[in-house]
């Protein structure tokens, strides 16, 4: 395969059969359409390219900025496409809740604008919602924007009507599947694919998946939010069902760990929703059937999403010399010293004075002569053993004497004979009128 441009690599993604041992369906062959293998990483590459392509020449002439309301994959694809053509890209959103995606977009040169939160004190006289303002700004005279408008642009749907849908049928030897399962975001892929499949075989049944209302699954809208999408037509779907964030992660794990498909939570939701829905049919019918679901994007961008909801999945073996292993009694009886005594001790025995606060706080004000080792770094240091000589007395300080007590207990347990915690911390030091410096 040789291409002149990366955009030629968009589409023609594989259709991969899921091992029946994993999904457990006896009479249904379940296939995953691996949209995660598009060059920019998701199903949105198709729509982004199809929407932007006809306008690029003109946009380049005018030096327009590409603008889209997107919290993730469409923004990613458009940022790349804009960059390839020397154009800027701006994403406006209030849904960008996955930090890695935000960082990746910034890395790609995107400008991100976040819509404000709801007003705490409702203003009943307010007439404009942020989105209306956004559209007004776009159409203001003299503005040079290429607004791809993914929620309303028919070229979003068309990308799937002419691409994704035909590819599925081709890979199933000219047959449409009995079932098509898609998560509903912009409704572009579900609508476009469904339309093509029904043209091939009017009996295709379409399952649309939305997020449970109180939940957040990246790339999927809730049952209310889909009503705001211009491309959404309830008649596209024979059935609408909702999936929870937990379901999405469960499905994602099955794809990741058992199928070798590095899908993100949206693909996980599609898999989970597909199997949940098909299980009943599988039990009722002995007829051989085929179902296809879309794996929208990759897992790598969602690690913080997983960490927040299922920290157990990212568990690591316990660390050595961790302050977490200390008992309350050990911490309570850790050697400590009050401000007055500490001042005397510093004058006579010159202990090494370690300030465990952040470098910013340390830079602002600290005890003269202290060194700054921020607590996270200190925790790393002591994993490997005592970071200073046993003959060197040590005074540890933190804001209120809590962290320092932990580390004093830990170092004592590790065999240091003369380590103490500054009781009450830097705050007690300040409140006692002892000097703090910034140098």
């Amino acid at each position: 395969m040789r291409y002149d441009s990366i955009t030629e690599a968009i589409g023609n993604t594989p259709l991969v059969r899921i091992d029946p041992d994993v999904h457990g369906l006896r009479n249904i062959d379940l296939y995953a359409k691996l949209e995660l293998l598009n060059p920019f990483g998701s199903v949105k590459d198709r729509a982004a390219w199809n929407m932007a392509r006809p306008h690029l020449t003109e946009a380049v002439e005018h030096g327009s900025q590409v603008v889209e309301l997107s919290s993730g994959n469409t923004a990613k694809a458009l940022a790349v496409i804009a960059g390839m053509h020397g154009l800027g890209f701006k994403s406006v959103t209030n849904r960008m809740r996955v930090p890695e995606i935000k960082d990746l977009l910034l890395l790609l040169g995107a400008q991100i604008e976040e819509l404000p939160g709801q007003s705490e004190c409702l203003d009943p006289t307010a007439t404009d919602d942020p989105l209306t303002l956004f559209h007004r700004n776009l159409s203001a005279s003299g503005s040079a924007y290429l607004h791809t408008d993914q929620y309303f642009n028919p070229r979003n749907t068309e990308a799937h009507l002419t691409g994704t849908g035909p590819e599925i049928v081709k890979d199933l030897d000219g047959r449409a599947p009995d079932w098509f399962v898609a998560c509903v975001g912009t409704a572009g892929s579900s609508t476009g694919v469904a339309r093509f499949l029904r043209e091939t075989d009017p009996d295709v049944r379409v399952l649309g998946l939305v997020a449970a209302k109180s939940d957040f699954i990246p790339g999927i809208r809730t049952i209310d939010e889909v009503q705001e999408v211009g491309l959404f037509d309830p008649d596209t779907y024979d059935t609408m069902e909702s999936v929870s964030a937990d379901d999405a992660i469960e499905g994602m794990l099955a794809l990741n760990r058992r199928c070798g498909i590095l899908a993100g939570p949206t693909g996980g939701a599609a898999y989970f929703g597909a199997v949940r829905h098909l299980r009943q049919l599988d039990a009722e019918s002995a007829e051989r059937q085929v179902a296809v679901f879309i794996v929208c994007d990759r897992v790598e961008s969602y690690l913080s999403y997983v960490r927040k909801r299922r920290p157990d999945l990212l568990g690591r073996p316990p660390r050595k010399n961790s302050p977490a292993d200390l008992s309350d009694a050990e911490i309570r009886t850790a050697p400590a010293i009050g401000v007055g005594d500490a001042q005397a001790w510093i004058a006579t025995d010159r202990p090494l004075l370690v300030d465990l606060r952040s470098p910013y706080a340390y830079a602002a004000l600290h005890i003269d002569g202290s060194v700054n080792i921020v607590d996270e770094l200190f925790a790393e240091l002591v994993q490997g053993g005592l970071p200073f000589s046993r003959r060197q007395p040590v005074l540890l300080a933190c804001p209120v004497g809590e962290q320092s007590a932990r580390y004093a207990a830990l170092l004592t347990r590790m065999g240091h004979p003369d380590v103490r915690s500054l009781a009450g911390g830097i705050i007690a030091w300040r409140d006692a009128g002892a000097p703090l410096v910034r140098d």
């Binding site: 406006v92 960008m96 935000k102 910034l106 400008q111 991100i112 604008e113 976040e114 819509l115 404000p116 939160g117 709801q118 007003s119 705490e120 004190c121 409702l122 009943p124 307010a126 919602d129 942020p130 989105l131 209306t132 209302k213 109180s214 049952i223 209310d224 009503q227 705001e228 999408v229 211009g230 959404f232 037509d233 606060r357 952040s358 470098p359 910013y360 706080a361 340390y362 602002a364 004000l365 921020v374 933190c398 804001p399 209120v400 809590e402 830097i426 705050i427 300040r430 910034r438």
Partner: protein, 492 residues
Amino acid sequence: MGGEPLYLEPRLGPRLRSLLESAELLHMLTDALGSPLNLVVPDQIAENLERFRSVYREHHLSGQIFYAHKANRSSALLRRLAATDAGVDVASLGELQHALGAGFTPDRITATGPKNPEFLWLAARTGVTVSVDSASELDQLAALVRAHKLSPVRVLLRLSGFETSGVKVLSRPSRFGTPVGELNLLLKAVERHAGAVDLAGVAYHLDTTSVAEKATALEGCLEALEVCRSRGLRPRAVDIGGGFGVNYLAHGEQWERYTTELTAAVLGRRPSLARGGHGYGLRAESGTVRGSLGLYPAHRPVAGARYLDELLSQPAASLGGRPLAALLLEHLHDLYTEPGRALLDQCGITVAKVLEVRSPDTGAELLVRLALKADDVALEEHGVLMDPVVIPGNGTGPRTKTGGEPVGVHLFGSLCLETDMITRRTVFLPRRPAPGDLMAFANTAGYAMDFHATRAQLQPVAHKAAVWQDGDTWRWCLDDQYWPITPPGEPH
């Protein structure tokens, strides 16, 4: 009525639940003091304060919790707080006088908001901390201090217009505060007025439910304090205002179902949920919902003290990613907060008598007229949708407990105006109310109780009474008669 009734049951803590079960007391009080009637629960505000304090303790933070007085003008609530260690944030001359009169010493008061010269003078005269909106206000304050030979006044500089690097947050512009970009000009004014003002810290207050926006502002304040310190000033406090929210509803599912049905109603897929097809900010445009829901997020799992905790736990990207609470602590800053609504959560109810229940010929919803004006219980004004609790006239406790057929009703008020609707939406009740019943609106102490009340058309404004529990019984006195030493058991 169109399908199942859509209830929005209020969340009731133990005190309000017990109060609403005291039907006899509520009837006696409305008979004696008239309808509408506001009841406040001073002990609750002390408990709410303690919840905020515990968040401070968890993060080892010092600093003051200032009750935002404007949320309710009750003397009982204010005096009960005066007996705790709380502060109060006053936004007018009257509020300042009220706070001083309730027992707050000046070191526990901050003056904020738009200020007239009298307010500014009394603040400076008594030595309360002044949250300064602009350089010109600072000039005005300093001039007063000099002209009247007053002691230097502690000031907080209220900042606005915080920006993040990387991601731009399109926060609503505020008419309060000085843009953080003009901090240097403001600090020059502080230095110029060195003998007249004493910089205590910086402040912000953002009208948003977004934690991210507030975190950005708090981070901006930490940086602003660094600028102050680098100029040799020694401010200590960051005042992050309030807006921590209240969770009004008992059941999240009811709220989710209601808002889904509201969307369906706007799209014409079910009968309207409000008079005249009102969509609360949503509208249909060729089959698609446009606009944004102009409602208070009435079911909020994270509200009040928990919201503060979440805010303090946000990482500060420009300061090494440590949580904001850790940074406040490490920098030895005091945290000031100004909760109003959140401190008043579960602190009061508004009760009104049902005067008339009318069945329209069309078979539409019942029209229920209350001895109350829409302004007396401004829940809808603030976009808070919450069902009233019906207390039957026979004194057998809330009617939700007894059987009967659900009904949809429209609640209207006692003003001779078409617009005097207590609720624009259809309210579903477990059974038909009757004249002589009481309707109690729960959790109205924050902004909904008397914030908008008027004497229009010479209709009575609600009397206000304080209630407290003495063992198993509720006791009461007029709001103005309440002092923290009033309840038995307190030292006289």
